[in-house]
Symmetry: C2
Subunit: 306 residues, 2 copies
């Protein structure tokens, strides 16, 4: 019986590993370094969701980083976590995840704020979850941006960042190198959106399947630059939300004559939602975002050989 | 500007705390002790989801416990966690949460297996997430039970526990003092189900709202003893699942003449789904489970005064 159980568990581990490998079956590119910022008082699910998602992403190197090297107590207090790196030892990330939690202490920590500011460049993608968006505001990264946060904090965020447009009832907002999400569990959706952009929609769906996040709606967010008259929150009517005015971001592209209605990089439909286009070998391709266009222009054949 | 930010953040913390207090506004009973089992190789989201949910539950004392007291690396390897208690120092829990992960080592740890067996009694509720169900099988707690696990492992679980009925495509299975869930993120749904049973549906909805888990479907699970011809998985059609035969558990109650179609304890509808009934002051009340009936019989006026 003991041997049989070991056999069964070994088999399951094989299946689980295969699933993860399957999710990573897209062409292997350079390693994507994903840093998860931790701090005393960090909200557990805010960082656990994205960590889980990115850990399944093809050729991703995910690591945790904090101002201090020792153990720190999370917001929920009954768990202590130890990050892998400090701000000075962490590799420069391609994707930076900033979770929320008890923010007052970390927002006064100038080493964290300046590290976020320093590591955020045009080549890098920064993603905040829940009240983590306030930390990006403190770092001065939100002026002129369309952003979101936990539904209970949208008005406060708008007060703090008067030059930003704060969205309500929006699971995530994707604005190029900045992705902000609603509260707590919405970090999973935001991370899946980033995977869809970097590795394609099929890779994101495969990860959602491994995580049994089967209610995931890839369109329940706002991609700035796409035509969408309102964010599709699709709130469960049994779970109430406070009434609030929805802001909308609408950009109208010209008339495109596209070779395909599918973004060749992320495989998302761009039917009526074209953010940008590129000409290649006599054909015009449409993209959901400028980042997809840039990726295409660097290596068009990688995305056209499917 | 600095003062203003502090004011804003202070305000948000107030709101967040108020939300949590609101979720806990049901009559305060005895403390519910919720133990989250950790082990080297534990899956992050498997335990993070339930920990998050139970931490918002009224008069809950949530704590982490492991065989060893020192830091341990989780399945995802880039994070080390430190539990609060060891098996010998942990208080006896009312609710025990057993997450999954890399199981081979912990399933060979007889101290953990015997602790699970010892702490699981009829007065206590044990909940497993994902492959955590295998650990309950190792402890001999699954014979004759209806259970579930990660979709990739249901057949292996059925092989390991031939006397149990393993459900596929079922977000959670609630069978009295045993609740098992599907993989990873389904632990959130299972924990919300337990909250609904212990503190009522409104408390569970409020927690889902705080966590922005707005896609939660309280009925996407199987409550053994309720009439339901099949589990309502409601899988997103864009996220595929392997075809498999669904098993069904159907129990037919007699003809009830109920005072109300609402279970007075958990406030769930029992319209056509009555698991048990009780007579009190000349009226007949219907319950979704035997646990709700027992709670009612102990303190009927607590549940009838609303």
């Amino acid at each position: 019986m003991k041997k049989r159980n070991q056999l069964i568990l070994g088999l399951f581990l094989f299946v689980y590993t295969s699933l993860s490998a399957q999710a990573q079956s897209a062409p292997v590119g350079d390693t994507t370094r994903v840093a998860i910022l931790l701090f005393p008082g960090v909200e557990l699910l805010d960082f656990a969701g994205p960590l889980e998602v990115f850990n399944h992403m093809e050729s991703a190197k995910v690591y945790t980083v904090a101002a201090q090297s020792g153990p720190m107590t999370i917001m929920q207090r009954m768990l202590t976590v130890v990050p892998e790196y400090t701000l000075s030892t962490a590799p420069l990330p391609d994707v930076l995840v900033v979770p929320g939690g008890r923010m007052e202490e970390v927002m006064q920590d100038s080493s964290v704020v300046s590290w976020i500011r320093r590591t955020t460049s045009h080549r890098q993608l920064t993603m905040s979850v829940c009240t983590g968006t306030f930390l990006l505001g403190k770092a001065g990264l939100l002026d002129g941006k369309t952003i979101t946060t936990h539904w209970a904090a949208t008005q406060m965020l708008q007060q703090m960042t008067p030059k930003a447009t704060v969205m309500e009832h929006t699971r995530f907002v994707d604005q190029g190198n900045l992705v902000t999400t609603a509260g707590v569990s919405a970090g999973i959706d935001g991370a899946l959106r980033v995977v869809a952009r970097l590795k394609g929609m099929e890779a994101a769906k495969q990860i959602a399947r491994i995580m049994e996040y089967d209610k995931w709606d890839p369109k329940a967010g706002l991609v700035v630059g796409q035509i969408r008259t309102q964010a599709k929150g699709k709130a469960n009517p049994t779970v109430g939300k406070p009434a609030a005015v929805k802001k909308t971001v609408v950009m109208k592209p010209g008339q495109w004559k596209l070779t395909s209605s599918i973004d060749p990089v992320c495989q998302m439909s761009v039917d009526g939602l074209v953010a940008d286009t590129a000409r290649y070998m006599g054909k015009t391709y449409g993209f959901c975002s400028k980042m997809c266009k840039e990726r295409f222009r660097k290596e068009p054949m990688t995305y056209l050989k499917h």
